[in-house]
């Protein structure tokens, strides 16, 4: 099944540049035909033939003790995304590399089972056959009923682009850690709750047994005990033991949060209300479940049950779903976090990197970037959002912090990880030892390593990995990276030296096998990867397309469709309940029926599944087939939910229900294939609505850019209008139709310089007469034109204050504003521009405006321009020096000077502001004649 894994060496990207395309000689039999169009400079974004999925997605899998590795759900939950990609197969692979010796049970020398608080492991995997690469994040959740109390799970970010995963490893790791932490926190809570219930049960059982024994004792006057009595006594003893064990477990699980989460005051308060929640959730989704299990009770006041002496066999009982394991609230948060991750890493690597660089650069311009950029607040808001979505993990995240901060050479990671996999002692957490202490121990251990020895060690291991057919290389566990990053500072020389050494060695040993799991380092070496491995990602363009043609209609459609959907949801779940209770009678394995519900991502190519499937499944196959399409049908709304992060909507109950709906509604269709077609077409139309038009979202920018482009093409007098905005003269957009006015105001707002970081001085819609204060406050105003005589006041005010405003009349298609003869705006807003896409145009504007900002910055902060060189120098001389600087050095013509001067004033004000955003700056204006432009 798993043949020799091939290891890709760890190199840094910049080293690659030294020797470009030094293709390593591959053994002939392993070489894969190159991507046919690669030589012709084909579209680098074209879909790689190898990948069977259309875009990146996140897969959550479980290593079920009953059925083995199985996929649970994908994000986005859309069959179209992963297409024919075999999730079962891939789950098997990613779960197979879970090295973490999550050993729970009775360790030697200990009387009671011990829980290990296992750290997550982070691994990058590749599968050449599937053309898939994955960042895999393994985590372990506790389940009282599971073997050894643990349930191994993993979250995988699957992409066709290996580089993307490599380069974004740290970001991915950070984000997934948040999600994982969220899940684990919820799980601990749920587990503790479960234990408490179990203890109550046991307690109750003990009392019952006790009384029974007493009765028997009384009934039996003779001196000897009956076999029955002995059995009872034994039972009692085992219950006693069980109680102690469970109490110990409870103590252990409780000791975790208090030790690890300091200042996490949510615990106590939240405990109460969250404890009931999973039960409620469970009630709505699977009410029949309680018929078999004693443990689950939906009532908040728990009545203990009698526990039978013989516990049910492992295959008889139904394992808890992920949601049940993690407490609904936390599960929801995790889903939100995951879809946030999906969103965050959506797109081509190139795009991701560019935007990251972009952001980093913009941060450097901290003096000027407030003028036109809104990214800073976006960035912050994203962070805030994340925190609000998943506030707990950020506080008690694993010690991987250093991983993000200092990108350490990956060799050491592998060394460490290898080390850890060899000496499993390192991974396991000793319970007595505090987390911090433990780490320190490890650090000292590692730092005592001789660097050279270190490398030799590594080298040896790599050889070993090739020779052994069965071994699985696991790299980059979280624990070891964090540790090593510490040691990194101590032995920086080793660090800089090591990558090369390793690479040279790794090259010679590299093999590619058709059916292999490739365990890759976190840092790619392009030289070592054949072209066809460099999976590319098509979404950079496709996404744009799909978003570009959206319209307002989409939203309306969405809005109108959702209420019935919700309504049907109720019906659906009811119906579902019925069908489930039916199947319940068949056997205990309602698990199989639950499968399509809880994990609707099941591919319909079940035949290939490695995971053994219970027989009922095939009987249900037809239905399941429907489910698959149903998922597709539901997708847009689901997408919408996950992207917008309204947590209330993310309630899995709702999601679950809506899936059911589509299932039932689908049953009405006789011709499934045609339905699929129609769904495909509509869903593509509907996806745009996924994004609620947030104030500064990417989509908002696209839309604004597009409308601005439209404006520029449509109106020949766009230049003076834009000049007005840039020079701080309020532009009033006058019109009758609110939507049109708002749209244009939004579009033009990208040209409006901000006063501060707070908010854009843009008022989208006003219907009352304008006042002098408005011009001081707003630089772009959408004004309602009312036909009634009441509007006279509005027009009076407008004409009275005409010297402060430019008036764009949308109804008459006129513009009244000062003359513009500069060269700046024509470059910014060329109506013959070849740019067609909104986002591209937005970027163009952004770059132009950044350029402008730098000019303004230069002008503002040039000392000699503003201060007299000596005492006798007159103001006129200074002024003329300024003028010549603007003209000659900055190359500004005519009115362009005023734009830069205005921006300079804003810069000055911003720089001097003590508390930003508290006051509005003064209204600056010029006494210049206005002209009336007509189409």
């Amino acid at each position: 099944m798993i043949s020799a894994p091939d290891v890709v060496a760890f190199t840094k990207e910049d080293e690659y540049e030294e020797e470009p395309y030094n293709e390593p000689a591959l053994p002939e039999e392993y070489s894969v035909p190159l991507f046919p169009f690669a030589s012709q400079g084909a579209n680098p974004w074209s879909k790689l033939s190898g990948a069977k999925f259309s875009r990146d997605f996140i897969l959550i899998s479980e290593f079920s003790e009953q059925v083995g590795p199985q996929p649970l759900l994908t994000i986005p939950n859309d069959t179209k995304v992963f297409g024919t990609f075999d999730l079962n197969y891939f789950s098997l692979r990613i779960m197979s590399v879970d090295y973490q010796a999550s050993f729970v049970g009775h360790p030697p020398g200990s009387a009671y089972p011990k829980l290990n608080f296992v750290e997550d492991s982070k691994v990058v995997l590749g599968d050449s056959k599937e053309g898939a690469f994955a960042y895999v994040h393994h985590l372990t959740l506790y389940d009282l009923e599971a073997r050894g109390f643990v349930r191994p799970f993993c979250m995988a970010y699957i992409s066709a682009d290996q580089h993307k995963i490599m380069q974004q490893f740290q970001e991915l790791s950070a984000e997934f850690s948040k999600a994982s932490e969220c899940l684990k926190t919820g799980n601990r809570k749920a587990f503790a709750g479960e234990l408490e219930k179990k203890l109550k049960d046991l307690d109750y059982t003990r009392t019952v047994l006790h009384t029974e024994t007493e009765i028997q004792k009384k009934a039996n006057d003779k001196g000897f005990y009956s076999s029955q009595a002995i059995e009872k006594a034994n039972e009692l003893a085992s219950v006693e033991k069980s109680i102690i064990e469970h109490q110990d477990l409870l103590k252990q699980i409780r000791s975790y949060p208090y030790r690890k989460l300091k200042g996490f005051d949510l615990c106590s308060g939240e405990m109460e209300h969250t404890q009931d929640q999973p039960d409620q959730a469970a009630t709505t989704s699977n009410p029949d479940e309680y018929t078999n299990t004693d443990l689950y009770t939906c009532r908040p006041t728990y009545t203990p049950k009698l526990i039978k002496a013989k516990s049910t066999k492992c295959f008889d009982k139904k394992l808890k779903t992920l949601e049940e394991l993690c407490d609904t609230e936390y599960f929801t948060q995790t889903l939100a976090q995951l879809s946030h991750i999906e969103h965050m890493f959506r797109g081509d690597l190139c795009y991701l990197l560019t935007s990251q660089i972009d952001r980093a650069l913009l941060k450097q311009q901290h003096i000027t970037n407030f003028l036109f950029e809104d990214f800073v607040e976006v960035d912050d808001s994203v962070v805030e959002k994340q925190e609000s979505v998943c506030p707990k993990p950020s506080q008690h995240r694993p010690p991987s912090r250093s991983l993000e901060e200092c990108p350490i050479p990956q060799v050491l990671i592998s060394v460490g990880s290898y080390k850890s996999s060899v000496e499993s002692v390192l991974i396991k957490m000793d319970q007595e030892l505090g987390d911090e202490e433990y780490k320190e121990v490890e650090v000292t251990e590692l730092s005592s390593f001789d660097p050279q020895e270190n490398l030799d060690y590594l080298d040896m291991d790599m050889k070993g990995s090739i020779s052994s057919g069965e071994s699985i290389e696991v790299l980059g566990t979280e624990k070891s990276t964090s540790v090593l990053s510490k040691s990194d500072s101590q032995a920086s020389l080793t660090v800089s030296l090591s990558p090369q050494v390793v690479r040279s060695k790794a090259v010679s040993h590299r093999t590619i096998s058709e059916d292999s799991i490739e365990v890759l380092s976190t840092c790619p070496s392009e030289a070592l990867i054949p072209d066809d491995f460099k999976a590319s990602y098509p979404s950079a363009i496709n996404e744009e397309e799909s978003y570009a043609d959206d319209s307002e209609g989409a939203i309306h459609f969405q809005a109108s469709i959702s209420p019935p959907e919700l309504g049907e949801a109720e019906e659906g779940s009811l119906e579902n309940t019925l069908s489930q209770t039916d199947s319940c009678c068949i056997g205990k394995e309602n698990d199989s029926l639950r499968m399509p519900l809880s994990s609707p991502v099941h591919p319909h190519t079940d035949e290939d599944a490695v995971v053994s499937v219970p027989p009922q499944r095939y009987r249900q196959k037809e239905q399941e087939f429907h489910v698959d399409f149903a998922v597709e049908n539901v997708n847009p709304s689901r997408d919408n939910i996950s992207e917008g992060f309204p947590v209330y909507e993310l309630d899995p109950r709702h999601l679950l229900a809506s899936r059911d709906v589509s299932k039932t509604s689908l049953d009405n269709y006789s011709d499934t294939t045609s339905f699929v077609g129609s769904v495909a077409s509509t869903s593509s139309d509907r996806t745009p609505s996924a994004y609620p038009a947030g104030p500064s979202s990417e989509r908002h920018k696209k839309r604004a850019g597009q409308n601005a482009l439209k404006f520029i093409r449509q109106y020949p007098f766009a230049h003076p209008a834009i000049y007005s905005l840039l020079s701080g003269r309020t532009l009033v957009v006058l019109g009758e139709d609110e939507t049109i006015v708002r749209k244009l105001v939004t579009a033009l707002s990208i040209f409006v310089p901000n006063y501060s970081r707070c908010a854009k001085p843009v008022k989208h819609w006003v219907s009352s007469p304008l006042h002098i204060m408005d011009f001081q406050k707003w630089k772009l105003i959408g004004l309602q034109r009312v036909v009634s005589p009441a509007s006279a006041g509005t027009l009076h005010a407008l004409s009275r204050y005409s010297r402060y405003t430019s008036i764009l009349d949308l109804d008459n298609k006129t513009l009244r504003c000062p003359l513009y003869r500069g060269t700046l705006v024509p470059r910014l807003a060329d109506h013959r521009t070849q740019i067609k896409r909104g986002s591209t145009y937005y970027l163009h504007i952004q770059s132009m405006l950044t350029q402008l900002c730098s000019k303004a910055f230069l002008y503002t902060f040039c000392h000699h321009l503003h201060l007299p060189a000596h005492d006798k120098e007159t103001e006129e001389l200074v002024a003329s020096r300024q003028a010549s600087f603007l003209k000659l050095n900055l190359g500004l013509v005519n009115e362009d000077v005023k734009v830069v001067q205005y921006l300079a004033e804003l810069l000055k004000l911003y720089y001097m502001q003590e508390s930003p955003g508290t006051s509005h700056p003064m209204l600056r204006f010029d006494y210049v004649p206005s002209f009336l432009y007509k189409i």
């Binding site: 006042h771 002098i772 204060m773 001081q776 027009l795 009076h796 005010a797 004409s799 009275r800 204050y801 005409s802 010297r803 503002t860 902060f861 000392h863 000699h864 503003h866 201060l867 103001e875 200074v878 002024a879 001067q901 004033e905 000055k908 004000l909 720089y911 001097m912 003064m922 209204l923 600056r924 204006f925 010029d926 006494y927 210049v928 004649p929 206005s930």
Partner: protein
């Protein structure tokens, strides 16, 4: 009002021609005010502004609140609450010579028949009675029978006077020193100090001269005596002002402007024919039609060494003291009554009006016979020794053609949406206007402000140690 519809002067030329109102286009190269800051703190009409020092001013109005502002930054420094009704007079009470010059008092009189002395924003205060914090209300007097309509401070004697239906004299500690008997029900509308310990009060149509009896060795009592009543005005006196050491000037509702000798209280010159239909008015039917007494009432004066500038109805008149006649006029300077005028050092004149605008004028020598000469009918002069009006007229006309000046509109400030009540000119910080739209606007010279900001910027850079000078 019509002009608001039209917008700037650029558009319909036809209308502009019909209207006698001089307009200026959007291009105002000589208008230095290219920056404005709207200050909002009042909730009713703001009627009074008073300058406190180089950078501060106080505003007061119908909401009974006094606000102290920083004229440079537009920052609100203090809000003085104490009056329950609208404020009718506002004056500063500078302290005595020996005192710390920072301890300045504000006197406010209100329709609630109280006068409040407020301390404004002092760190230290010398006085014993009012140990001060910032903007504390120091003392309140409410023993008035009537609303105090005017206040004046006689700094020399360190006393102040309040004028209502009677005239009261107070000292700094708010002790009533003496008062007159009930003068009239309309009350004193204006009050000024003239030499020889005298004050002039305008009561209805009359001007009453009072003399203050200052305590001497003989008597320790203060007293105020009515010395003389001047009855030359035919209608209510609206404005009263000191012009120079020799004369003071009064203006009445029907457009009489009388210049008085400050020492013997005799009429030096009188100009009472603003309302007379002059030959030129024939061509301007509209004015004639809408000419009401209101249109020629003299609301406010300002003056310099040579001229008295009078706001007469909607117009502005420049009266030369030497020549004793109007040398320049702008009959319709505004759309409605001009409420306040002020002369700037640079030969500029600023006027504000009920129409909500502020206009900046420049007094220029007329090169030749102007297109709109000052009508002779307006110069019906008679003073001492001038008995025959008819005879003197031709001579006047000739003179006038040679020396007449022209008031030229150099700019207007449009910001307020309602009547501009008053304004205050700061040499360094620009112009402050207050209005019935509850707003105060700070008009600034944009270029200068920009320069100042640059200076500040580099100062701050230097403070932060971020300034690197190129070698």
């Amino acid at each position: 009002m019509l002009r608001w519809l039209i917008g700037g002067g650029r558009e319909p030329q036809g209308l502009a021609e019909k209207s006698p109102l001089q307009t200026i286009g959007e291009e105002q190269t000589q208008n230095p005010y290219t920056e404005l800051l709207v200050l909002k703190a009042h909730h009713d009409i703001v009627r009074f502004l008073v300058q406190l020092d180089d950078y501060r001013f106080a505003s007061a109005g119908d909401d009974g609140v006094v606000v102290v502002w920083n004229a440079q930054t537009g920052e609100k420094l203090l809000e003085l609450n104490g009056h329950t009704q609208k404020i009718t007079a506002l004056i500063t009470f500078p302290c005595l010579e020996g005192c710390d010059e920072k301890s300045q008092l504000i006197l406010t009189a209100s329709a609630d028949k109280t006068v409040i002395i407020s301390l404004n924003l002092e760190e230290r205060e010398i006085a014993i009675v009012w140990n001060c914090d910032t903007g504390r209300q120091v003392q309140k007097v409410s023993c008035f029978q009537s609303t105090v309509k005017c206040l004046t401070v006689l700094q020399r004697l360190d006393i102040w006077l309040s004028g209502g239906n009677d005239l009261c004299v107070w000292n700094r500690k708010l002790d009533l020193l003496c008062k007159t008997s009930h003068l009239s029900d309309t009350g004193i509308s204006a009050l000024i100090e003239i030499p020889k310990n005298c004050v002039v009060a305008a009561v209805g149509k009359e001007l009453i001269i009072f003399r203050l009896v200052v305590p001497t060795e003989g008597s320790l009592e203060w007293d105020i005596l009515e010395v003389k009543r001047l009855l030359d005005h035919q209608d209510n006196i609206l404005s009263l002002a000191n012009v120079n050491d020799l004369s003071f000037v009064t203006g009445s509702h029907v457009g009489e402007l009388i210049i008085w000798d400050i020492l013997d209280w005799t009429v030096q010159a009188c100009e009472r024919n603003f309302w007379d239909p002059s030959p030129q008015v024939d061509t301007q039917q509209e004015i004639k039609l809408c000419q009401k007494p209101n249109d020629i009432s003299i609301h406010h004066f300002t003056w310099d060494e040579e001229n008295v500038f009078a706001a007469v109805g909607r117009g502005l008149y420049v009266y030369n003291l030497q020549m004793k006649r109007v040398i320049a006029c702008q009959k319709t300077a505004h759309d409605s009554s001009v409420l306040h005028v002020a002369k700037l050092p640079n030969r500029q004149l600023i006027s504000c009006s009920e129409d909500g605008s502020v206009r900046i004028w420049e007094l220029r020598e007329k090169q030749q016979l102007a297109a709109e000469p000052v009508p002779t009918g307006f110069f019906n002069m008679w003073g001492f020794g001038k008995t025959n009006k008819q005879a003197s007229q031709p001579v006047k006309k000739q003179q006038e053609n040679v020396t007449s000046c022209l008031l030229e509109l150099v700019g207007d400030l449009i910001g307020h949406s309602s009547s501009v009540e008053m304004f205050l000119y700061f040499e360094d910080h620009g112009l402050v206007t207050c209005s019935a739209d509850h707003l105060i606007i700070l008009w600034k010279n944009g270029e200068r402000e920009s320069r100042l900001r640059s200076l500040k910027l580099f100062q701050k850079l230097e403070e932060n140690g971020d300034l690197y000078l190129a070698v």
